[in-house]
């Protein structure tokens, strides 16, 4: 049943990806001719950068996951007004353009933020600075605590209801229930959650760039950027990029070993309330954690809305720079999402037809190749591509094309993850029928896949769109006056402390990504239901 025609496109796409990545990789190798990895340890600055990367990721993970445990626990047993919205918001923090989140945090905790303004009333000064390690940790907790809480909520919610009834029935106290029932079930999930969060913090670029950046709080990711952009030190840039690639690869392998990944459902899940013996202290405890996380997540996003409508609004929206950034961002997001979706679907068509004839291993490898970007941060790839093309052409005039390609590559793992199961499923269900009816190619995709699994397809597209829309790491090296995207523009405004203009751009970026995301899904879901 497997025809060459069916599997070839996916293989070609995978070939392109391999070519692209290995091109970048070999450019990195060529630029670090003496493989002087010892420099990474001998030079105190590089050593500091490596140590700091691990240190901040470790602390961020500890805080995010550690605090996510009581939050997930409280959420698992309470139902309250707005819980659904809160969980949706939790899901949003991961796709939220990083700089928008950073802006929101700055407008609360920054030197001229809300807290500092309130303190000024009573003649106090802000006792901490958001720039440096403090800010990096705060932002990482802001982005990852909700994500971790959602991941941890799932096993808690999958505990059988009888377990809760039994606990009530046997009179197991809160602490004992946590120790004997809930913790063992969380513990299975923890290595995976910690691994994921660690990886996200380790490769975090925009956050560190906006809030850190001084020599004291620089990560490897940022050091690559600075070596190239500030020092024009291509060798160091390449060396650091290789180093980052090795570390990420190792981390990814360790995470893979530690645990089996658990698929995260896309929407917010609400389960029926579970029975448990409530008490006043327990109620206070849960209320404390739920309000704490609400206070962490909601105000920064609210501030983006409130601050966005300020006196600079007209100035910004009448500025041509803004419109060209907006145009570029839409172009990048749309193209990258389309490419990622098409590439993802083609790869999955190939891998599933292999799976159906028992070539599991081959199929796994193909899908793994599509997710290769997970071990090679976007900045590393774009650094490689940058070095590769620099001598051939004017890279800055190709900026957008490269950014589209890198962003598509970055979105691909999400597409694969979202669509792998549904695609395989439809094939298992309908492949024989389709063959007997002689359906193939695009018309088959349209009539079968598009009709049957439109929701995950649209979901994959929207995620890719929003991620590409908010990404800074691919454009950072290539950005110039001609090719600014909204995140880069926002970064420049933040960098020059033009907070009011930054607020307007943040608002646009937030509206565009989150609102568009919601809109696409809504329209598609509606159409889907009508049909």
């Amino acid at each position: 049943m497997t025809s060459k025609l069916q599997t070839l496109p996916g293989v070609i796409i995978a070939g392109f990806i391999l070519l692209f990545v290995s091109g970048a990789f070999s450019a990195l190798l060529l630029h670090s001719p003496d493989f002087n990895f010892s420099a990474l340890w001998v030079d105190p600055y590089y050593r500091h950068v490596t140590v700091f990367s691990f240190y901040q990721s470790f602390l961020s993970t500890l805080l995010s996951v550690g605090l996510a445990i009581p939050v997930a626990h409280a959420l698992s047993r309470r139902s309250f007004f707005g819980k659904e919205l809160l969980l949706k918001l939790f899901a949003a923090t991961l796709v939220l353009p990083v700089l928008v989140g950073v802006f929101g945090l700055l407008s609360i905790y920054g030197n001229s933020g809300l807290i500092s303004q309130l303190l000024a009333f009573i003649d106090y000064k802000l006792p901490f600075s958001i720039y440096g390690l403090n800010g990096i940790l705060l932002a990482h907790v802001f982005f990852n605590l909700p994500f971790a809480a959602r991941l941890l909520l799932q096993p808690l919610q999958s505990l059988p209801v009888e377990n809760h009834k039994l606990s009530v029935h046997l009179g197991i106290s809160h602490w004992n229930k946590f120790k004997l029932v809930e913790w063992p079930c969380l513990r299975q999930q923890l290595p995976h959650v910690c691994g994921l969060v660690f990886m996200l913090c380790f490769t975090s670029f925009a956050t560190v760039m906006a809030l850190g950046g001084g020599p004291k709080s620089t990560t490897i990711e940022l050091a690559i950027y600075q070596a190239i952009k500030f020092d024009f030190d291509l060798q160091s840039g390449a060396l650091l990029a290789l180093w980052q690639m090795i570390l990420c690869g190792t981390l990814a392998v360790i995470i893979q070993r530690l645990s089996r990944p658990v698929a995260l459902t896309s929407g917010a899940t609400l389960s029926a309330p579970v029975p448990f013996c409530d008490s006043k202290p327990a109620r206070y405890w849960d209320t404390l954690w739920i309000s704490a996380v609400a206070v962490l997540v909601i105000p920064p996003l609210l501030m983006v809305f409130i601050n966005g409508l300020n006196v600079q609004f007209l100035t910004v929206v009448t500025d041509t720079v803004f419109w060209s950034a907006l145009k570029n961002s839409l172009l990048v997001a749309l193209s990258a999402a389309l490419i990622a979706l098409i590439a993802g679907v083609l790869i999955l068509i190939t891998s599933r037809s292999w799976r159906l004839i028992g070539l599991q291993f081959r199929a796994d490898k193909l899908e793994l190749l599509g997710a290769i970007i997970l071990v090679t941060p976007g900045l590393v790839i774009s650094t490689g591509i940058f070095l590769l093309l620099r001598n051939v052409t004017d890279v800055f005039s190709l900026a957008l094309l490269i950014v589209i390609a890198v962003n598509a590559l970055m979105a691909l793992p999400y597409v694969l993850k979202t669509l792998a199961q549904p695609m395989l499923h439809t094939a298992q269900q309908y492949d024989k029928l389709c063959t007997s009816l002689g359906m193939s190619g695009f018309s088959r995709f349209y009539l079968i896949e598009w009709r049957a699994i439109r929701l995950p397809i649209v979901h994959a597209f929207s995620i890719s769109f929003v991620l590409s829309m908010g990404d800074l790491s691919a454009i950072a090296l290539f950005g110039s006056q001609d090719s600014t995207t909204l995140p880069l523009y926002l970064f420049q405004l933040l960098g020059s402390y033009q907070m009011e203009s930054a607020a307007v751009v943040s608002l646009f970026l937030l509206m565009l990504s989150v609102a568009l995301f919601a809109l696409i899904e809504k329209i598609m879901v509606k159409n889907h239901v009508v049909k």
Binding site: F230, S335, S496
Partner: protein, 328 residues
């Protein structure tokens, strides 16, 4: 696949260089901004050349050089405006710049001028600026600031991106030599932040984020002339001040060599030079008359600078010294 092709084609089009009669000048943002000298100069030059002058605003002086090196031979720049005497050797070394045809006879710089690649357009002395109503007892020397004054918070610029930042690095090196490492650590304790460019640092200082900011002895003139405000002054340091001469140069692969030459000549014209004191707030390099206010400004009793070659040889290791001092 069909759907994305137009997008790709469109994006390629959108980023195509325009090669009409347009002169592209890379400079730093405070020069190009609406409150800097940029707009005035653009207008004046465009009237003279019947062309379009486009300023590409980068973070600060060193970024201009970094950007040129990154773009290499494919750079769209015709002229770089905003490097300084310290960066000249390193910039010339790239081989991406070419000799100018400007007659340097009119240039009146302390110490004269003879360089066939770079043309100076203004000069000044680095200094820490403060609000004399807020800071009643300013430090009298760099050493006092660095070693003794724990009550003072400062902002300065990153030497990897900014010429003032690099200037401070050289100034520190001049004063402290081998002990700069220790001095940087002491200064780090008083540092609010290190910004990428001069304008961010100065804006933060004006918003009250620090007591002193690294700028120029001539910066107070801005407040006196534009704001009739004389509370901002520069601190006079007894060791002397580091001199900066800001320079421009032609890019070798310029598509508009003629226009570039015309612009280089324009730089030492009276029109350009008279825009410097009250636009870029620096001293002009020719004999154009200075505003009266400039007489009120502190002129350092002593001034100095390394040679461009000295800077070129040591810049990387000095930057690393600064970086390393700051991480612990």
């Amino acid at each position: 696949m069909k759907k994305i092709l137009p997008f790709l084609a469109f994006s390629a089009l959108a980023s195509m260089p325009v090669s009409a009669d347009k002169l592209v000048v890379y400079t730093y943002d405070s020069f190009a901004s609406e409150w800097g000298p940029g707009p005035k100069i653009k207008k004046a030059f465009e009237e003279e050349c019947a062309c379009e002058l486009q300023f590409v605003a980068l973070d600060d002086g060193v970024s201009i050089l970094n950007r040129l090196r990154l773009e290499g031979k494919n750079s769209k720049a015709d002229v770089l405006l905003g490097l300084d005497n310290n960066l000249m050797a390193e910039a010339a070394e790239t081989g991406l710049l070419t000799e100018h045809k400007v007659d340097a006879a009119n240039i009146r710089l302390p110490g004269g001028w003879s360089d066939n690649i770079f043309v100076p357009y203004d000069f000044g002395y680095f200094a820490f600026v403060y609000n004399k109503e807020a800071l009643l007892n300013p430090p009298k020397s760099l050493k006092e600031l660095v070693e003794k004054r724990d009550d003072i918070k400062v902002i300065y610029q990153d030497p990897r991106t900014s010429t003032p930042g690099q200037g401070l690095m050289l100034w520190m090196k001049w004063i402290y030599a081998d002990k700069a490492d220790q001095a940087w650590k002491q200064l780090a304790e008083k540092t609010v932040t290190v910004t990428k460019g001069w304008s961010e640092a100065y804006n933060m200082f004006l918003k009250g984020e620090a007591d002193m900011v690294l700028s120029y002895t001539t910066s107070p003139a801005y407040h006196i002339i534009a704001e009739q405000n004389s509370q901002y002054v520069s601190a006079d340091f007894s060791e002397g001040h580091y001199t900066q001469i800001e320079v421009a140069a032609k890019v070798k692969n310029s598509a508009n060599e003629k226009l570039a030459d015309q612009f280089m000549d324009f730089i030492i014209s009276d029109q350009f030079q008279s825009a410097m004191p009250t636009g870029n707030w620096m001293y002009p390099v020719t004999d154009v008359p200075l505003p009266k206010v400039f007489k009120q400004l502190t002129v350092p009793s002593k001034s100095f600078s390394f040679t461009a070659e000295q800077v070129e040889t040591n810049r990387k290791s000095w930057i690393r010294e600064w970086q390393s001092a700051l991480i612990y």
